[in-house]
């Protein structure tokens, strides 16, 4: 019978599982994100540095190409690029800051789209909890950002391990897990900031600006605090400084003394980043309600 002739009838099939409903939120979120051309272009742009890095790894490990280059340039010295911690650190930094740009574009839509016309009561009236709703959005953003952060980094690590003439992978495993952990911390932080901003600010342009501001404004404030109080603890609200320091320590990058970041231990940095995450989670908790609570 044609659909337009059918009458009201109950569903008699087997309903999907709890995990299935969680994935529904993610799937519809992805579908919405990919419907934007700007998202597509941005995602591709974010992967371009990885392609260049791949080419560099190939060149660094290919004797014939290296010979050709040194003949062409007339240099017979050491290899132009050394594939080591510093190299991966540079790529990690580049990819992670690109992830911030991507987050600033896609983040505001994630929850804002459901709040714009008050869809939350309808969504949450289904067998899905607020926590699951937030986790689904978080997982959506995290998986999106993973594609431009730790996934390409681990691919590069794998490529270097494969191409290297000498045993390389086991001696440099800290690069792999350092990149993965460093990216995951950054992704979690960015995702929570983006979701919190998305839930409070409905205007997309403002929300995009707010995400950048949430990352960079406390950095300025922290530096002012350091200058006034003649201390270094103001770094604990400086998100870029904290995350870069963590990346350096995770990848065991040795930088010149001028760039040394040993003034604040790792534990306070982790605690400060956790506090920021908790703050964002509280902001989400306060905002994401199926109904407004009437006080009086």
């Amino acid at each position: 019978m044609s659909v337009f002739k059918r009458n009201y009838r109950p569903f008699t099939g087997t309903p999907t599982s709890r995990a299935g409903r969680f994935l529904v939120l993610m799937r519809y979120g992805f579908s919405d994100l990919w419907s934007s051309r700007i998202t597509n272009v941005l995602s591709l742009l974010c992967l371009l540095p990885t392609l260049l890095a791949m080419a560099a790894i190939y060149i660094a490990n290919n004797n014939a190409v290296r010979l050709l280059i040194s003949n062409a340039t007339g240099s017979g010295g050491p290899p132009i690029i050394s594939i080591n911690e510093t190299y991966f650190y540079a790529i990690l930094q580049g990819q992670c800051w690109l992830a911030l740009v991507l987050t600033a574009w896609i983040g505001p839509r994630l929850i804002g789209i459901d709040l714009a016309n008050n869809a939350l009561p309808t969504i949450l009236s289904h067998p899905i909890s607020r926590v699951e709703y937030v986790l689904a959005k978080l997982a959506l953003l995290a998986s999106f950002l993973s594609v431009v952060t730790w996934v390409p980094l681990l691919l590069l690590f794998g490529l270097q391990s494969y191409l290297s003439a000498t045993p390389w992978a086991f001696a440099h495993l800290h690069i792999a897990y350092g990149s993965f952990i460093g990216c995951m911390i950054w992704i979690l932080l960015l995702s929570l900031i983006a979701l919190a901003v998305s839930s409070w600010v409905r205007w997309r342009i403002v929300a995009t600006g707010m995400i950048f501001a949430a990352v960079f404004v406390p950095a300025g404030t922290g530096n002012v605090f350091n200058a006034v109080m003649r201390t270094t603890w103001g770094r604990l609200i400086d998100i870029p400084w904290m995350i870069i320091t963590l990346w350096q320590r995770l990848l065991r990058v040795e930088l010149p003394r001028y760039f040394s970041r040993n003034e604040v231990p790792t534990l306070p940095i982790i605690l400060a980043l956790t506090a920021i995450c908790v703050l964002c989670a509280s902001a989400l908790n306060a905002r994401l309600r199926a109904r407004e609570v009437v006080r009086g």
Binding site: V3, F4, R6, N7, Y8, R9, P10, F11, G13, T14, P15, T16, G20, R21, V24, L25, Y28, I113, D114, A116, N117, N118, A119, L120, P121, T122, I123, L124, S125, H126, P127, I128, S129, R289, A290, R291, V293, V294, R295, G296
Partner: protein, 312 residues
Amino acid sequence: MAVVELDQLEVRLGGRVILDALTGALQGRAVGLLGPNGSGKSTLINTLLGFHAPSRGTARVFGADIRYQSREIRGQIGYMPENDSFIGNMSGVHFVRYMAELAGIPSRHALERAHEAMFYVGLGEVRYRQISTYSLGMKQLVKLAQALVHGPRFLILDEPTNGLDPVARQRMIKLICDVRDSGHTHLLISSHLLRDIDETCDEVLILKSGRIAAICNLEEERRANRRFVELETVAAGDSFGVAIRALGCECASFPGGRWKLVMPESAEIRDLYKIAASQNVQIRRMNYRRDSLEDIFLTAMDSKLGAARVGV
């Protein structure tokens, strides 16, 4: 089993008692939820949906406790909120499909059911348009479609006829009656419009200041009201009274040819006409005592709390 059982249900919001020790059972196929503004209708609905946690007592929907089985309850409920509640840049059918999948319908069935639901509520022709371009009446209908799409056992409609013109309202009422008569779904309808409740519901829960002012089975009320009849007649003598009493009616005559009767279950109105015809009596007017929903509502509003009328 009662659809909804309220067991000393108390809900506090912002330190204020919004629902105060509600106790009762709702068993009707379609239950109307009435009460003045701020009486706690929406809070009761939100509590049944698990949006507010009870501060004391509990409620059960189909026997499932709202404190511990909120997810199971929501799996059986279709909810049509009072205010706008949709994703504006989605097409109607896409939105309804999304809600169907969230309710647990597998993706392959959800699309088909979304199309069905959109046709069923009368939005078939506009199902591919973005919801933000819909008129107010269409938005109400798409809310109904998303509430119905998964074939819930319990449908909660919060002010379903809000902002609708008379034609759209009539259409909405017809749809609600259709769903009710399907026999599969129980309904809880919150409305300010007594007429809507009167047309669609067989039971009514009246709230006042967060407490139950009345729970009343409208079907029984209507049946009972049919037994009280007032007649205005011409040329009715004592024989008319005798014949009516012979039917088993209790009756009293008044000057001006007026009669008041209480009819037994066995007697029908047509019997009165037969007697009148056989005795050449003209029945100029016939009134049922009309203890309408409005009367019930007003009585409930006047009654002291705690002395609530519970007619189930």
